[in-house]
Amino acid sequence: MEHEKDIQKAVERAKKVKLVAHDVHGVLTNNTFFCDVEGRRKYSFLHQDGFGHLSFKRLGIEVAFLDTTSIDNEGLYRAQELKLEKCYHKVRDKMAKLGELEREMEISPEDVCYVGCDITDINIMKRVGLAIAPADAIDEVKKVADYVTIAPGGRGSIRELCEFIFKAQGKWENWVEEVAKMGYK
């Protein structure tokens, strides 16, 4: 189902963002996993989302992984690879964890962008300043989102969000120029 969104309102909200927190499965992955005969499991992530994460870090927006559904440590490995310290893994109550993080960073819910895809994300999304859903999130989540990315989970929603936020904050063009000249590592 398509949900009509007020893009200008989402842009205004994006200007305030100081923390991007997101679910792992269904956002960084397409929510599937491989299981082989030895019980070994595999998960797929997308390279471009890493550019989104690194851009946030470089331009001063904190990133946090908030995951409840992981079976293994795939989210942790991905966060380690990207050198992101705030990876909260197998968290039972995501809302409580996010509240803790806000106090620690001395920011308000208005300064938080949250990306979620399923029912356990809805309460958080109603609370934060900017709520984002990937294109293939469940309908109830898309309904409460301020903005729905064109990309489905695991196919670039974080990369797309990075561009959306930095364009809103007026930092995108300079960043593109810098990356084009110098890279971003």
Binding site: G26, T32, F33, V37, G39, T69, I71, R92, D93, T120
Partner: protein
């Protein structure tokens, strides 16, 4: 079959029996060059199984043969009952005896011709969006989701909404994880 008729049938469900291949998977088998097989599953279905359990509805896998992969998936989804037989109706008789439940209280999800016999027996028969035409023809409800992409998640929501349990289950799972 109207949605309202399916809702009425879903209200009575106390036990959900799931075929594995074509329901929990999209039927694709991956082999590495040294012969190790993998299959792809959806974490949506893990939530679906957790939601059914939270609502007090039993769930079991029923497929012609239980492989090691099926056992791993059973342990991840916290499904203890794994039945490996292609005589699915006989197995249903045995489960009914053990639990003292009637045909009406069973939901069965299947995608192929082999499933149509048991699907005609149970109260609430469900087929994934991409099931064989024969299975969809005998289904009371066809999910919007294709096999391997969250059929159980969609079904759990459908049954629990019909039974008026969904909101409470969502609230509990949001606080406790699963």
């Amino acid at each position: 079959m109207t949605t309202q008729a399916a809702v009425e049938k879903a209200k009575k469900v106390k036990f959900v029996i799931l075929d594995i291949h074509g329901v929990l998977t999209d039927l694709t088998l991956y082999y590495t060059d040294d012969g190790k097989k993998s299959e792809v599953y959806s974490l949506h279905d893990r939530l679906g199984c957790a939601a059914l359990k939270e609502a007090g509805i039993e769930a079991a896998f029923l497929t012609s043969k239980i492989t090691r992969i099926d056992q791993y998936i059973g342990s991840i989804y916290k499904i203890d009952r794994l039945y490996g037989t292609s005589a699915k109706i006989t197995q249903l008789d045995e489960i009914q005896k053990e639990f003292g439940l009637t045909d009406e209280e069973f939901c069965y999800v299947g995608d192929e011709i082999i499933d149509t016999g048991i699907m005609k027996r149970v109260g609430f028969a469900v087929a994934p969006a991409d099931a064989a035409a024969e299975a969809k023809a005998v289904a009371d409800y066809v999910t919007k989701t294709p096999g391997g992409r969250g059929v159980v998640r969609e079904l759990a929501e459908f049954i629990l909404k019909a039974q008026g349990k969904w909101d409470a289950v969502v609230e509990r799972l949001s606080k406790t994880g699963y």
